[in-house]
Symmetry: C2
Subunit: 285 residues, 2 copies
DNA sequence: GATATTTGTTGCGTAAAATGATATATATGC
DNA sequence: GCATATATATCATTTTACGCAACAAATATC
């Protein structure tokens, strides 16, 4: 039995799906299957009841799950304890953020952190920012960068990095639209996410049914389409600051303005007691 | 980190000597050295302060030792729990006994145990019976076969297998000695151990200084020398029962007779709660 | 004080174990 | 009944672990 097997077991016990669990653990499904099998051989009991369609914990599996969680917690605890003993921070911390964020905030933050704690290895995963909170809550990542939702889930901690206005953008070549014809203007919006919800509400309060030209995943794609003159988009301004297309774009002066994005760090509150996470966290004063 | 590394670490922490610790763990010293090194790398701290002459636990090592013991205890606990869940006993149990014992009692006991619990693997180590209790107390073995000492150490459990008279033996060819000349008779005795202490006391009570011809390690060697006519020896009768030389030997009728050997199982009391050890233990009614 | 001995570590070649890609078997859904 | 999904078996490859022997450093021995 080793720590890795325990983590894999927990992942499978939570996901109840070899494919997804193996993805989280960064191994192939076959490796996970064998790892679980090995564990079962070692313990002499089946931990999962599985056929080719379903995976379920056995009674023994449930018992072992609580053991695994405890054991992993204690392992983390002793590692933290010994880390304090050694004086210097070291180990591994996992981060999740969007590609946009990795271009903008991340560089400065990481550079500083790296300088202060050179022996801490950072595992960075990028992806859809909408998944950020879910990944934190699931314990898949230690820290994520994202926009603060209106309501924070219980146990979730947020620390502001900066405000970024949510702005309407149009191509520089396009003539300025008058404020009255919002129903006519082709809009290019996020498929989902906080920005989309804000815009939907904005239109609702205005009493206008927007003409949605395109629903796009990713702020960069919105900038591209707007730059090409397809319509008006809404993105956090931080995206423009790092966009190679920003000089082809102008920001519309829209009233009322949308609320600012609050971009910041997410982490589980209970993980803030970990020296590594805490060091990262406290870096932002 | 895996269970094996933890055991190796504990062994080194107890022995404070790579050679001896590696022997207990059944690996080469180099493997142990690398294993410890790996642990230290993983934790980012030194666990031992060591040069080519001394090994000592660091402060971090002491902290980790308590963790390791706890962690190992919990691992055993969950394994036992899951074993009860599964209904059938399985796993591994380690035994220690002398070569003599392995010829005599062990066969029947093991055959029966194997029949009742075929999925339990038995690791058998043989060696000097005088080490049996020490190995049990050190936790190196689950169960040992040996002779009950006058006083049992605290925490040590003993279960009688059978009595075996401690007998004086001589070669069949030698003439019977009269009872008066014990001081003249060449004695062949164990170097150490319970039998030796009993004989020493026997002579002391008789007020005779024995003439010790040879001090030998191992009952088989005593039988050999006696059989060749070098003198009179003292061994538990069970040894004769399994000796190919027994027909060349006769048992002397000595008064007062020595107390019987109480041959039986040793185990740590706290290990009796383990299903495996308990099953072995309870086999002897 | 020179030599021998003890003992932890390291280099190297081999053996074992783990892994990923692919194939397979089997269950489910339409 | 065919298409899909999914856990597992197989095989080739890579990674890891191990033991042996050499080494280095410290102590013991005379």
């Amino acid at each position: 039995m080793d720590i890795r097997s325990l983590k894999q077991f927990i992942s499978l016990a939570v996901n109840l799906h070899f494919g997804r669990a193996s993805e989280v653990s960064h191994v192939s499904p076959s490796a996970l299957s064998r790892s679980i099998r090995r564990l079962e051989d070692e313990l002499g009991v089946s931990l999962f009841e599985r056929n080719n369609r379903n995976v379920a914990l056995t009674r023994a599996g449930k018992l072992f799950l609580t053991y695994a969680r405890d054991s992993l917690g204690q392992w983390d605890a002793i590692r933290n304890e010994l880390m304090e003993e050694s004086g210097e921070l070291h180990g591994e911390i996992s981060m999740y953020c969007s590609v946009t964020a990795s271009y903008s905030f991340l560089f400065d933050i990481l550079a500083r952190f790296r300088n202060d704690h050179p022996r801490v290895e950072i595992k960075l995963h990028t992806g859809d920012p909408e998944d950020a909170i879910a990944r934190i809550l699931a314990g898949d990542e230690d820290i994520a960068i994202g926009a603060r939702p209106v309501r924070l889930q219980a146990g979730l901690a947020f620390r502001l990095i900066e405000f970024s206005p949510l702005v309407f953008i149009a191509s520089k070549d396009q003539p300025q639209q008058s404020a009255e014809n919002w129903a006519e203007i082709p809009m290019i919006l996020s498929e989902r996410g906080l920005a989309r919800r804000r815009v939907d509400e904005w239109f609702r309060e205005l009493g206008v049914q927007p003409r949605i030209y395109a629903q796009v995943a990713g702020n960069e794609a919105i900038v591209s389409m707007v730059s090409l003159g397809f319509g008006v988009g809404v993105v956090p301004r931080i995206v423009l600051d790092n966009s190679p297309l920003s000089n082809t774009i102008r920001i519309l002066d829209v009233k009322p303005a949308l609320d600012d994005y609050e971009v910041g760090l997410f982490a589980l509150e209970k993980k803030l007691s970990s020296p590594l996470v805490n060091a990262f966290w406290s870096q932002l004063k």
